[in-house]
């Protein structure tokens, strides 16, 4: 298993290489660059000279391959460069913003799994019953509506109308209890809920479908023939088998949840990777664009790897040597 993980981690390198090349080319295909706006500032007398200096200092006058390999060279030394717009090392910026996104994504994942798996299982147990029909309808509805629509709806209901939860930021500024646990949780709930809703619906459907397939399996009949009772059969035999495809899907979605947070972070003014990468793109902040994209790519790839590892634990028929 350990050798498998190492091999897989090494296998990520060529993939990441290709991803960064593509991002690099696309990034330069965007019109303008980070410093061009200076030229159009009427109050700058020597705008052209400043512009030329900045372009030269940041190596933007060199050919693309040279620029790319400079970036790679620095990356291998652990240096992601300095953000043009924020004037701070990219690594430092990521270290500041990443934990917020992680917190948001992990909370959303937990909400998704904790809520959807029991619901899906219960639906499958009482298939076509009133609960199944109603909750299936709601699930399909949730899944068909984009997350940011829910975000606005949640803000309207829980913040604006009933004033139950705050709608922006990570803490309440300027109060004595600013930043304590309850304060942070209350700020986290709304964006996490908005982020989890479509996934929640999807995973409920997935759990329901998988469980329905397992419930009619021969070994479930065997379990009943052994005299086992409902809950034991449902959890030990049905869920234990139904969860395997869910784990596979979970790994694939993990990276998606990160990028899914991009829009929601804007809506909730949540200072996370989404905000960072959107600003980086708007400002043509090349080092920051590359740094954030690299990180998104890594989360997707790590998610896949994590799913494969978890699968091996969940399903004894899968063995990696």
């Amino acid at each position: 298993m350990a050798t498998y993980i190492i091999r897989r981690l090494l296998g990520l390198i060529p993939t990441l290489f290709v991803i960064t090349v593509i991002v690099f080319l696309l990034m330069h295909a965007m019109p303008g660059n980070a410093f061009e706006a200076l030229v159009f500032n009427p109050r700058l007398k020597n705008a052209a000279a400043i512009y030329n200096r900045l372009v030269q200092e940041n190596g933007l006058n060199q050919s693309l391959p040279v620029q790319y390999f400079d970036w790679i060279k620095n990356l291998l030394q652990g240096n992601l460069g300095i953000s043009y717009s924020l004037n701070m090392p990219v690594s430092e910026l990521i270290a500041t913003y990443l934990p917020n996104t992680l917190l948001l994504a992990v909370t959303a994942e937990i909400i998704i799994l904790v809520v959807s798996i029991p619901i899906g299982l219960y639906q499958a147990r009482n298939v076509n019953g009133p609960f199944d029909v109603l909750s299936s309808f709601i699930a399909v509805l949730f899944y068909s509506i984009p997350g940011f629509v829910f975000a606005l709806l949640l803000i309207y209901l829980l913040s604006f109308t009933f004033n139950l939860l705050p709608s922006s930021g990570t803490v309440t500024p300027g109060v004595p209890w600013s930043g304590d646990f309850a304060d942070r949780v209350s700020h986290l709930l709304l964006p996490a809920l908005a982020l989890s809703l479509p996934g929640l619906a999807y995973y409920t459907r997935l759990t329901r479908g998988n469980s329905l397939q397992v419930i009619v399996a021969d070994f479930v009949r065997t379990a009943r023939a052994k005299g086992l009772r409902g809950p034991r059969i449902l959890f030990r035999h049905v869920l234990r088998n139904a969860v395997i495809p869910i784990i596979a899907q979970f790994g694939l979605d993990l990276g998606g949840l990160f990028s899914g947070a991009v829009i929601l972070e804007q809506i909730f003014t949540w200072p996370g990777m989404g905000e960072l990468s959107i600003n980086a793109n708007l400002n043509r902040d090349y080092p920051l664009i590359l740094g954030t994209t690299l990180l998104f790519a890594i989360t997707v790839l790590i998610g896949n790897l994590l799913a494969d590892i978890l699968l091996a634990f969940a399903d004894p028929r899968i063995r990696y040597d």
């Binding site: 009619v216 399996a217 021969d218 070994f219 009949r221 065997t222 379990a223 009943r224 023939a225 052994k226 005299g227 086992l228 009772r229 034991r232 030990r236 035999h237 234990r240 088998n241 395997i244 969940a314 399903d315 004894p316 028929r317």
Partner: protein
């Protein structure tokens, strides 16, 4: 038959849907005494498997329904028990094994745990004790590697080993009755003989009664004390095995026996019974075998023959017998 262990009276199991009512088991009576082997023989679709599932109340609902009848285990009617009482009987007083030993075992659970589970449920012992007992049970069914095997998963065992493990599981609580639904159909011929020998040996050792459902008359000849021949949801002939083999009275039973290829005889082709079992949704008015019977007469198509006792314990459902 006085002092019967299990007595089945007028058992009817229907599959009801909006479009049709399929009478899979349509009024079946038989009984098994302690230490005897009863074989239920019939083609696919004759209702033999549904009969065995009905005894355990494992017919897949909500379409499958036991409509009427009594299943008396030592005088207690299983069909009138609560689901909870019934679960105390399953795996404890009646053990059951199935046709496909691969799909009948949970693929993600260790063999030892699957066997131990029955003991924990009915004998209320700890999981550790149960696992130790599982080793012993696996040894009793002739698996020499029992101590390793308890830690293995079904996919690591061969078909024959799996069926032995199934038998160990069904026999774990020393049931009074073992229900075997086509236990050897999915196995190689050499393994078939071994599994049948094992069942015989266990039966001699423990005195448990066996109901063996099969379509294979070779298996019947080897195992049966008593035989029930089923056709289209009904019993067409029943009696002691010797009687049935020496003096088959029903044309269907004779046709079944004729369809066994005999090596010494040179035949142009195998003597198959022409036609197929009538659809259980549309049984003909008269004798259900009439369309395939070589001796059919006018009255056969008018009136369904009764099951009549023509010899000691030997009953036949035929106007001509």
């Amino acid at each position: 038959m006085g002092g019967a262990l299990l007595e089945v009276r007028d058992l009817k199991t229907y599959f009801v849907s909006k479009q049709s009512t399929v009478k899979a088991v349509d009024g079946v009576d038989f009984s098994v005494s302690q230490g005897r082997v009863l074989c239920i023989v019939g083609e696919s679709g004759s209702g033999k498997s549904v009969t065995s599932l009905s005894l355990m109340r494992l017919v897949q609902g909500p379409q499958g329904r036991i409509v009427s009848g009594e299943v008396l285990l030592e005088g207690r009617d299983l069909l009138r028990m609560s689901e909870r009482q019934m679960s105390d009987v399953r795996g404890n007083e009646i053990g059951m094994i199935f046709q496909e030993p691969m799909s009948a075992l949970n693929p993600v659970m260790k063999i030892g745990d699957q066997i131990g589970e029955v003991l924990v449920r009915h004998r209320h012992i700890s999981r550790r004790e149960a696992r130790e007992k599982a080793v012993e049970l696996l040894r009793n069914v002739g698996l020499a590697r029992a101590d390793e095997m308890v830690h293995e998963y079904p996919h690591q065992l061969s078909g024959g080993m799996r069926q032995r493990a199934m038998i160990a599981m069904a026999m774990a609580c020393q049931p009074k009755l073992l229900l075997a639904d086509e236990p050897t159909t999915a196995l190689d011929v050499t393994i078939q003989a071994q599994v049948l020998d094992l069942m015989r040996a266990l039966q001699k050792e423990t005195g448990t009664a066996i109901i063996l459902v099969t379509h294979d008359l070779g298996v019947v000849a080897e195992m049966a004390d008593d035989v029930v021949v089923m056709y289209a949801g009904q019993i067409v002939e029943s009696g002691p095995a010797d009687e049935i083999f020496d003096r088959p009275l029903h044309p269907y039973t004779r046709a079944l026996m004729d369809s066994i290829p005999v090596i010494e005889e040179e035949r142009e082709r195998l003597r198959a019974i022409p036609g197929t079992v009538p659809s259980a949704a549309h049984f003909p008015e008269g004798c259900r075998f009439a369309d395939r019977c070589s001796l059919v007469e006018g009255r056969c198509r008018e009136r369904l023959p009764e099951l009549r006792e023509l010899g000691p314990g030997h009953s036949v459902r035929c106007h001509l017998a």
